[in-house]
């Protein structure tokens, strides 16, 4: 492994709160990372998102499991993918092995659970005929809880191949005997050159010199972006953008329109029913920015990009009106095409009472919220004012 100079903790998990469903929406019930984590109590989920404790062994299962790519590692998917580019025997299948698998391997990972769909498919992009995932029987391994994760990744990768008229059999899983993998990758530069090695020390010293002293501005004084402004920005989902890049470059891919049952996989399709009030909460809270609205003075339109949707269900869980329905039946070819789909189109009107826009025809002058609130307030006031009854 090329651990270079940094001798800190091995590949800690990095959290991008803005992409975490839990952080963005307190009603989210997403538990993907916690479910897959092999170490008890390593991940703690709360309304403030995910927290990783000292117990973490940095296996990377959560990085693979998080549909929104909120969790990352020092060696990201892009780095892992680029390692599949050059190898000694391009005609042979590309072999990715876990630490305990016997035999030759082009890429060795501590556990296959670190793989993402993008990394699994990337060797095909660079001309490999097939990808072989090698691992022994997981039952004896301390990380056996993560086996479900890499099986899911293989399932979706195969589904994606089928959706573009490629043979799903190009991704194979082989159960190998226990042993040590033999890396056949062309000798990677281990560590760094002398120059870089000393440069790294120099950088650290310079950094230490430049670090804020006592006179410098107190970091606590720096304004923290309020949550409400933070959620309005949508960060890019690094995991998905890597996958989409790989898909775009797959040789011989011809997208076929077909339904695919994607239960438990990080893809989904969205439908919005007639109860939609055009409040844009789904757009605001969507961690990956898959939903967008556009409106003019009289017209309102809500659409989404299926290739970005990860099926985290924040939109469904957040919607007060229960208008959003997330379905597991997906057309995977949309991931290749990257088109947008319309969810809602409607006439927009301005309420004469609250002066806020609402979805409704021009002959309505008040928004449904104002009408409901006024009615409720009066109903309750009547109840309080009722004479002679003991309304307990």
């Amino acid at each position: 492994m090329d651990q270079s100079v940094s001798t800190g903790r091995e590949q800690p998990i990095l959290i991008e709160n803005g992409l975490c469903s839990r952080y963005r929406c307190s009603q989210s019930s997403c538990v993907e990372c916690m479910q897959v984590c092999p170490v008890p109590d390593a991940i703690h989920l709360s309304g403030e998102g995910a927290e990783i404790s000292e117990a973490c062994i940095a296996c990377g299962a959560c990085v693979s499991a998080c549909p929104n790519g909120a969790l990352g590692q020092d060696i990201n998917n892009l780095d892992l993918g680029s390692r599949t580019r050059n190898r000694e025997h391009p005609s042979e299948p590309f072999r990715i092995a876990c630490d305990r698998a016997n035999g030759k391997a082009d890429l060795v990972l501590s556990c296959l659970c670190r793989l993402t769909e993008g990394v699994v498919l990337e060797p095909l992009r660079w001309g490999a005929q097939s990808v072989e995932l090698r691992s022994p029987d997981c039952s004896g391994c301390g990380l056996h809880k993560t086996a479900g994760q890499w099986k899911k990744v293989i399932k979706l990768a195969r589904g994606l191949l089928e959706s573009v008229n490629l043979d799903a059999g190009r991704i194979v899983h082989l159960t190998t005997p226990l042993g040590t993998p033999r890396q056949t990758l062309p000798a990677q530069k281990t560590g760094v050159s002398r120059r870089d090695f000393f440069r790294a020390f120099a950088d650290k010293w310079e950094e230490a010199d430049a670090s804020p002293g006592i006179d410098a501005e107190d970091p606590l004084d720096v304004a923290i972006t309020p949550f409400r402004d933070l959620v309005r920005n949508h960060a890019e989902n690094p995991k998905r953008s890597h996958l989409l890049n790989v898909l775009q470059a797959l040789p011989g891919a011809r997208p076929l329109k077909a339904g695919y049952a994607a239960q438990g996989l990080p893809v989904a399709s969205i439908e919005i029913g007639p109860k939609c009030t055009g409040c844009n909460v789904c757009e605001t809270l969507c961690p990956v920015g898959a939903i967008h609205h556009s409106d003019s003075e009289r017209h309102y339109e809500l659409s989404y990009t299926p290739s970005l949707c990860t099926g985290c269900r924040v939109c469904e869980e957040a919607c007060f009106h229960r208008a959003v329905r997330v379905s597991d039946n997906v057309d995977l070819s949309l991931l290749f095409l990257g088109t947008q789909q319309k969810l809602v189109t409607g006439e927009k009107n301005t309420c004469e009472f609250c002066r806020q826009p609402f979805l409704g025809s021009t002959d309505e002058s008040f928004c449904p919220l104002c009408i409901t609130t006024e009615k409720r307030r009066e109903k309750m006031a009547r109840r309080f004012a009722r004479r002679g009854t003991e309304n307990v």
Binding site: F227, C279, C354, R377, M380
Partner: protein, 206 residues
């Protein structure tokens, strides 16, 4: 007047004063003496500096009786019901908020909106059975009655209570208020706790 305020059974009176859980600051509004002057509304606006259209408390006028019935003498009544936030035991607004911006403070039971978190979606207004949360269109956040927390910290009572002309509003801890109601109104009063499952804390008597 007695037939309008029939004596209710002691058990019901006691039950209606039941305490919902730990410490809870709240209001007792005595409708008997409310004259609908809207001084509470104005005091609230002045204290909380709310823009046009945003009122943390409003006075609803309830008309009862029939005027046009020519066979009888007119028997009309106008009741004024001030409607602030009920600081519910199980706030519907809290349950509806998609970002967890609404909290019920453990130490005093006041339901507050965190304006840094609020995304202005108005879901709390949709959920509240009393129409309490108000949308501030300028700041694009929701606001509502805070029982004047800023005044409570200084040891004062809420602005509406201090201003009330008819002395119809009382502020205090729920236990203190219930004993105050017992002391002041004896049994000749009906006490309304809104019939909803949100467990409102504000007490109304008339």
């Amino acid at each position: 007047m007695t037939e309008k305020n029939p004596v209710i059974s002691p058990e019901i009176f006691e039950r209606s004063l039941a305490k919902p859980g730990p410490k809870q600051y709240t209001l007792w509004i005595d409708l008997e003496f409310c004259i609908g002057c809207n001084a509470c509304t104005m005091a609230c606006k002045a204290e909380n500096n709310t823009p046009l259209g945003v009122d943390y408390t409003r006075v609803i006028e309830i008309e009862e009786g029939e005027f046009r019935d020519t066979t009888k003498a007119p028997n009309m009544a106008l009741t004024f019901v001030p409607m602030p936030c009920m600081h519910c035991g199980r706030p519907a607004c809290q349950a509806a908020c998609p970002v967890g911006a609404i909290t019920k403070r453990k130490e005093d039971g006041i339901v507050l909106i965190n304006k840094d978190k609020c995304i202005g979606c108005r879901y709390c207004a949709w959920a509240c059975p009393y129409g309490a949360p108000q949308f501030n269109a300028e700041a694009r956040v929701m606001e509502k009655c805070t029982l004047c927390v800023q005044r409570l910290e200084q040891g004062k009572v809420p602005a509406c209570v201090e201003t009330c002309v008819g002395k119809t509003r009382f502020f205090g801890e729920l236990n203190e208020l219930t004993s105050l109601i017992r002391e002041k109104r004896s049994r000749a009063v009906s006490i309304t706790v809104a019939g909803s499952d949100t467990g409102p804390s504000t007490k109304y008597t008339r």
